[in-house]
Symmetry: C2
Subunit: 387 residues, 2 copies
Amino acid sequence: MQNFVFHNPTKILFGKNTVPSIGNETVAFGNKVLLVYGNGSIKHNGIYDQVIQSLQDVGATISEHAGVQSNPILSHVHQGIKIAKENSCEVVCAVGGGSVIDEAKAICAGVPVQHDVWKFFTGKKSVKNPLPLTTVLTLAASGSEMNSGMVVTNDATLQKFGFANKHLFPKTSILDPACTFSVPADYTAYGAIDAVAHVLEFYFTTTEPYTPVQDRLMEGLVINAIESCNRVLEDPFNYSARAALMWTATLALNGLTGAGLGKIGFPMHMIEHSLSAFYNVPHGAGLSAVIPGWMRTQVKLHPKRFAQFAERVFNKYEGTVGETAYQGVAALTAWFEEVKAPTSLTSLKVPDSDIPGIAENAMALAKVWRMRDYSEEKITEILLECR
Amino acid sequence: MQNFVFHNPTKILFGKNTVPSIGNETVAFGNKVLLVYGNGSIKHNGIYDQVIQSLQDVGATISEHAGVQSNPILSHVHQGIKIAKENSCEVVCAVGGGSVIDEAKAICAGVPVQHDVWKFFTGKKSVKNPLPLTTVLTLAASGSEMNSGMVVTNDATLQKFGFANKHLFPKTSILDPACTFSVPADYTAYGAIDAVAHVLEFYFTTTEPYTPVQDRLMEGLVINAIESCNRVLEDPFNYSARAALMWTATLALNGLTGAGLGKIGFPMHMIEHSLSAFYNVPHGAGLSAVIPGWMRTQVKLHPKRFAQFAERVFNKYEGTVGETAYQGVAALTAWFEEVKAPTSLTSLKVPDSDIPGIAENAMALAKVWRMRDYSEEKITEILLECR
């Protein structure tokens, strides 16, 4: 096991009827609240009203910043920072999925500084004294509700970049599984796949030879993402299944899975970010198009690791280690198909002729993330395998 | 899944050569430090010198409170509080295993108040503004390094009581697996069994029917406690194995396993506390004497749950559900025997004639812990099964 620091100070309030706590949890940090949300779905399912009521009940002054899009964009972050500054907001409350929470984190980081917030994403500046953040989660997927990372697309340069900073953990996140009842089947599946992808990035990029505690944790989370997603798709209003999926997605990227694994990479995210930047596909859909191809390029290099995954997650025990290893990839791909997620660039209608441009774009992020083992050629090879 | 709050603010520094960070981590909360430790083993293995050096390097004033015994006692807690008050200590640094950390927590809670610290244990007073605590862990077992609970024996009344309070999470805990190299085989096994017991208490006392995320986490931790303990016993200086055991024990009682399980109990601890109070047996040894008997009384009541445990932890799949369920209990008992831990009251040389007294003592704790489904009769029945 490699040395690590684990320090996750986010307070999670999980369960039924927890949304009305958001007022108290938020004004603990200040009365002037910037409320950040997306394209208004929270106005249809009643969550918006609950949040406003709770904030008003505790005397908050609310400024609103709506319209965060899936794959949030920098120009909209700039608008949010402007509103927060104009209204002297002291705390940010994000109500939505990972995109909304990510944009809110960028706003929190950007308000106290004079320079462009994008400098945090390119590693040119480091976050200090951000505004505190509270969240109400409405989508089981990104884990942003209990971690310090975020991803934003620079709509001027079409770069989808991400970074993490220890000051950006939400103070409190409210996770009511009932808030996800109205998430449609496709986005439910994309969310589950996002959670699975977070685990796979750690699981298959660690070079640490002995991480048995983390392995069991990660394998359990993949099993749970799959099983709970399947249950939700059968019965979208099944509270227990929504709860299991929600908690799984949160635990899949709260720092625990990676603690002790040493240096890990996010190669699938690195490539996917270019797909969302160019085609604005949902993040989980982009991931599911990349994961099978990426895994096929890796399975030969780490057959034992892939075989362990196949055995423990999918109960595949037949054949040689190499055969078992492939069966795990095939089983995961089959599950993606089962939940109607794309499993190739072709299914996303990305033409072969776009591959060089995607590789070039992804390479820019690989440089920022210091993924030195990825060249534009290697990314191209993976993209060809993803077709 | 039941509603829950999860909020664990302890910062973990895990790995090789992390002990020298204790100075900085501690004086962040004040320069006047109360150093709490046990019976001097840290003076033989060099950890004491490292800690003193690190504290001196950052200009700390150190007051010492040594001699914490395994199963820490109230009169010694009182002494620690006195020393801390006399020296106006601002922060407590515990160097040791669960007993040392538990006693340090009691001291942290007791310093700012005028009343007897025991009132926290009997539920008559609630902790406010305790001194901050940092720790250097030297035994993989209790999980106290990353939770807010503690257990102390009132040596006047022979009551071994415990409680938890959200203000008592250590601020920082340093976990260097090399600090456990000198732990002998028996205490290594008792520590692993303590970690297993923490998982079993949650796993088998929850009445929540659907907790798949927590189940996989808990099953993984039991598997890892067993596997890493076995590796350590074969090769005590195996860093990876010590690391896996250490992290497993920490995760086994940091709040994550129980989050969402609803009301759970600590029946095995409740009974074991009386054994340590009367006979001063090591906590893990007391637990291993109680666990098999307690499980045998429960397996008929929850055969499916016990069968799931047998299947996923011990790969037992044969026979009926009821048969499988028993195979899990037998396999765990066999492992206790393998690591030379007691598996009955008889092996602890507790005579049958003591059983009524033990049951009476345990019942007092059952009342404090509000375990309404445990009567003195029921405890007696379990103790008879533990013979």
